[in-house]
Symmetry: C5
Subunit: 357 residues, 5 copies
């Protein structure tokens, strides 16, 4: 997960220019048309976006989902067909956009960031949505199609979903994208707990790197999920012609979820910071204990070794009474042991009084 994960045009590219940043093989795109009313439900794969034209004129909700890598050429065609704004289409191509909602004359354009867990941490994929009066076009440039469960719900006619308009479908998609945050947060929560046990038990350098990675992922999530609140609260304002009154109450629920996710993210960040403090303190505490022992053993033995060293000297002038006479004393050796014992006992008393032992 690189730090800068955004596709952008070189400065001064004319607005609305559509360029592919990593030209992929043409076959990597799936176009799926879902067309439904309360009574009917149609789900088919298209080879060309133009094929959806007949469905647009009917009074049904037409949902076209582009899964995978879309090419500039095709996007331009779709833009003409549905009258999409050039700036919006540019944002579809330049993935890594901040979530936002733009209001055009008779369309809404919404960008969301869908969180997902990858092998090497958390990742975010852009979901772009155009919504008109009776159609919705969605783009997701990733491998797996995240909207499969939503289609199943449509097909089964479960919930109120099929009797309502495109705005309710939009809610369905937003809700799905936002709720992806919960399993991610759950697994992050578990990672934090594991880290905590590790920290208080046996902190290693890998623990430190892991805390850093965690903070990095939390920062990424926060940056990209924070604007979701603004997106939903914009839709909630209640003066958008395309969002019916009946859908507002569901969007409010959606808003509550977005707020909860941000709350948890903030908490996790605080905990990650606190863990770093604990790591540092814990490591320092271990060192202190070790150092204290070294000091005590060293300070006890260093003077003793010096005393032993003294009497290992070879001063041996037999004529001089000053040449280490202690060596020849009758009780010299036990006396030295006595002196050493005194030194040890004195030091132990000193250490005990200083409260170091």
């Amino acid at each position: 997960m690189p730090y800068f994960d955004k596709n952008y045009h070189p400065p001064c590219t004319p607005p609305g220019t559509l360029v592919e940043h990593a030209p992929g093989e043409p076959g990597a795109l799936t176009i799926r048309l879902i067309d439904y009313t309360d009574q009917e439900y149609l789900d088919q794969l298209l080879t060309n976006a133009d094929e959806c034209r007949p469905y647009l004129e009917r009074d049904s909700v037409t949902w076209i989902h582009f899964q995978g890598h879309i090419q500039a050429e095709m996007l331009r065609n779709i833009g003409e067909l549905f009258g999409l704004h050039a700036l919006a289409m540019e944002d579809v191509m330049n993935s890594g956009q901040r979530p936002k909602v733009d209001e055009y004359e008779d369309q809404l354009f919404v960008i969301m960031a869908m969180p997902g867990s990858r092998e090497h941490g958390v990742a975010l994929e852009q979901v772009s949505i155009f919504m008109g009066k009776n159609f919705l076009i969605s783009f997701h440039n990733g491998e797996a199609d995240p909207f499969e469960p939503l289609r199943r719900r449509l097909q089964k006619h479960s919930g109120r979903i099929r009797s309502l308009k495109a705005d309710y479908l939009l809610y369905g998609i937003l809700d799905l994208v936002i709720d992806q945050g919960f399993p991610i947060l759950e697994s992050l929560g578990e990672r934090i707990e594991t880290l905590e046990y590790e920290l208080l038990d046996t902190p290693t350098r890998a623990t430190l790197a892991e805390i850093h990675r965690l903070r990095r992922e939390l920062l990424l999530l926060r940056r990209m999920l924070w604007p979701h609140r603004d997106v939903i609260s914009y839709l909630l304002r209640g003066d958008l012609a395309l969002i019916g009154q009946g859908t507002l109450i569901y969007l409010r629920d959606c808003y509550d979820h977005a707020v909860q996710i941000m709350d948890l993210l903030e908490n996790y960040r605080d905990m990650a910071t606190s863990m770093l403090d604990v790591y540092l303190s814990s490591a320092r505490h271990r060192l202190n204990e070790v150092m204290r022992l070294l000091t005590i053993i060293a300070t006890i033995f260093i003077p003793l070794t010096f005393i032993a060293g003294i009497y290992g000297m070879n001063f041996e002038n037999p004529d001089s009474p000053w040449a280490m006479p202690e060596l020849g004393w009758y009780y010299g050796y036990p006396l030295i042991w006595g002196v050493m014992l005194l030194v040890v006992v004195g030091m132990l008393i000193f250490f005990r009084r200083k409260d170091w032992l």
Copy 2:
């Protein structure tokens, strides 16, 4: 207390789906009906929610409290009986919600987080409340019934509580839930004081873990109690038909309490951070003292030991005048002691001048 303590549906579950997250034994639920006017007071256990139907039509305040684990089936029945909104009922089931208030046509739906102290720290339990014109339904999924004292107040007709409508009962519940914060904060305050004495006295590694746990609990409390302010200030707006003018002044008192609790929580958080700093500094200070002693003792004895080592060498060529002649000097041994004394005195002066002693 896990980090992620929320029940949630898998993404893309239709809104309003009621599923039990940990299906419990059916008998764990108590339904209690309280029905009162200024004159009468009735308190009885129900086996089925339907039994409350006759009370709804009277001009009394009907309070039904569900204590314990409620099953999806029963909740659905209650929903139909009282016309509760599906999204609200979903929030009742998915506990761990952020406190909030939702306004439906002729009902208010309030979620609160009731703090309580458990063996292993602080815990929060969700209290969900529906209020209509003359009824109030409350849910609390926990072991002990927290509303026992409120019922006693109702029964004794103490205060103005029984002469007023359901909105005053709602105030009574909110006030009770919020005021639970005070004993919790009092005990947290005591824990902080104990920790502080420990810190400045004999900090151990357990102290550190305890500070970390404290910060974690303060974060949890803050996340869940902060929205209480918003809940009360929403009710205080004064334009809700269901909240009478007379109740507003009491809710304002309630609001003051919520603010006081947040103020104290913020202070505690600052103190916990400050304690960590003190812990680190205190530990480091001890180490420094110990290290200084080691240095002084080591630097004094290391050169002395070297000198003793020199004269322990066995250079003994009797033909060479260069073979350690000092050993044969008449005053050699006292001279060496003199040299050593000079070294010690010189060092002590050096240390004293450096202000290390």
Copy 3:
């Protein structure tokens, strides 16, 4: 100064319940009546609150001050006499309240926190004030009566104070309470300066504990004085019938003082944090210097001692030319000294090049 310094009722006590938290001896209360117009001034001690009744009907300003521990019974009587709201009276009893202003029909209820310096740090005492059209009731539960100077001003007719109404008296009290902050801040400022000199000079562990205590007191002051701003700005709104236009300009001055005090408090907090950093760095710097010396002395003498140790070995096979022949060399001893000198010089050069000396 405990962390949790608030009296509160157990949760679910009916609102407006008046209970004494630490029932004191009845005699500890002084009731003082001041009644003045531009011409007259009366100051007398009452034994019973009822005695003030005749003064209320006159067109004078009547100020009744309760100094000391008030009992629930008496407060209830006063409440009836003046028509005080039960919730406000509860706040008078439950001291430790957050400063606030409540507006009742024809009364204002103000709570302030009066800072004062005690032996063991800063303390805050609650001052509660009821103000009506021509009366003012104040409560202060402490030993010394803080309003003595105000009474002297009233008596001397100094300033405009006596020609104005109760609202100007209220301003006088608020101003007095807020201005108590300046001497406190002055002494805190001096403490910080003393600490700073200590820090850069000879930091001890007591310095650290003192910094911690300082931060704690600053936090307490901040929590309790911050709401003063809101209290005054509420009164400044200009739409309160009880506050005359002429008094507003004085309240604005009062507001400026409250803001200045908060500004200084914030600065002090920042300085306290900075001091902790300096303490840590300073302590670490001392340790580093000490450690560097240890390293240099140890690394110089350890190899020398080893060399001396080598030639203290007793290999003495007279038949073997390999048995420490150096010991028998003619220049063996000076050679060893030469080798040692080389080691020392080499190391000194190494240290100097590493910039450690």
Copy 4:
């Protein structure tokens, strides 16, 4: 990149005074006139600003760009010609201004900060723009002309740019300046990643200096790019006569870019702080490991060396049975080895139990 990078007049210089701060050679300035309508396009170098006069009266968009060091004299002339406000012209001369937009009667004056990467880090250059009904004057005091690509776009008639008015040209310039942020952020992101690998691998003191430099550059960028948001949102208000409705949608896109850049900058700052923590912890962790080994080796060998020292002493009174009789024991030497082994084993067990090994 100095910390204070602003040209300013000495205090009390009359407003609107034009003084060159670093008088350059007169030839360093290029004046370029671009004049276009939908049909025509003219691009020519001027030697004197007066030469543009004939173009102003036509209904074309006239863009005069001053590239390089402008002299006070010439600026004064331009000011008279176009009726520019003295205060605005002062800001053109005193480079290092905060980005802002000022609205004069029939002109807009915009200051932007164009980020660019230099050898020794990031730099910001001021771009000043005056816009009137059908003209636009821009100043850029730098070496390279940043607007070359914009002129190419105008010439090629690519996009809608030439069919629109001066406000769209203004958008083109703002967009170009803001988008310069993306490549800068991309390269900063790469620097952070490189630093991170270095940190967890082999942190050196240069790493630390590099983190500090990075934080400094991020601070600079943040200070100067933050106001871009305000500039664009001022233009977006929609009530400026000079900004057409059609341009607003493009400015909104521009605003999104500015917000994205700030978001990324904030994240980078957080990561830089986190990296410093990791650096500190990482360095400390290495030290701890090293220290632990020292302790273990030292504490094992210090007592052993002492024991060996004991039996190196020369107590040799042949008459005394107390003179180190151990030396004469039959199994004395192996016994000593046994004692030493016991000491070693005992210590290893102790360390293992303390979990230090």
Copy 5:
């Protein structure tokens, strides 16, 4: 520069009381009258404030500046003459006020904090200004008169200053006071740069104290300069009768300067914090390097010294084959060297593999 640098009255002093805090010698005050219209300019020293009376009635702008220590008596006279409000005059005496603007009936009262550099750091002096329809009174209690350049501008009739009213004079003073911030910030910026080089080169304990002093000065500046923004934006509101429309555009320029100064101050604060981190890390890094060397040298030589110690023991029972037979071996001495070499090589390999060398 003490922390608490404010003159204040004892609590409960009547509002508007004028008392000198440090009664100075009467001669220390200079009163200067400037009276000008477009045509005329008069500048004279007064001995008594009353002398300005004749100028007040003319249609000229009359500016009276009090430089130095003003006495309560004189201030009271001026107050009567010009009808100044008592509270405002109190603020003139009690210097160290927070910058603010107060609006009286037909007067504006402005307090500014003028930054200046002193020997021992930054200092702030209070400038107090009263402005009426055609007069302006300013007070500055300091040694040097800061308004000398402004008077020169007035005299030379440079800029538009003399043709305009008192409000433009007010702008001139505010601009002068605010712009004093730029040279201060420039010198602070240089100090930070010097500190940075010192930090990365040879950090000493004095560096630390200097960083602390810098943070302290930045805090002081921030506290006192921050309100300048509010002062100017209050004047900018556009509904003050005393501030003409023509002056607003100049005040906006002034506002931009105030904002720029705050921006730079904030950046400096961040850099000062970052520098402290670098200081700590840098010091720690040096220690770590030193410690690593100690470890390596000590761990290599400690075992070697032990081995040498072993063979310095005097076990010499000629009858025992166990009494250090190694000493008598033919190749004993070279063998010991071999063993020592093995130990050294083994350790070097160990250290290299641990990446410590």
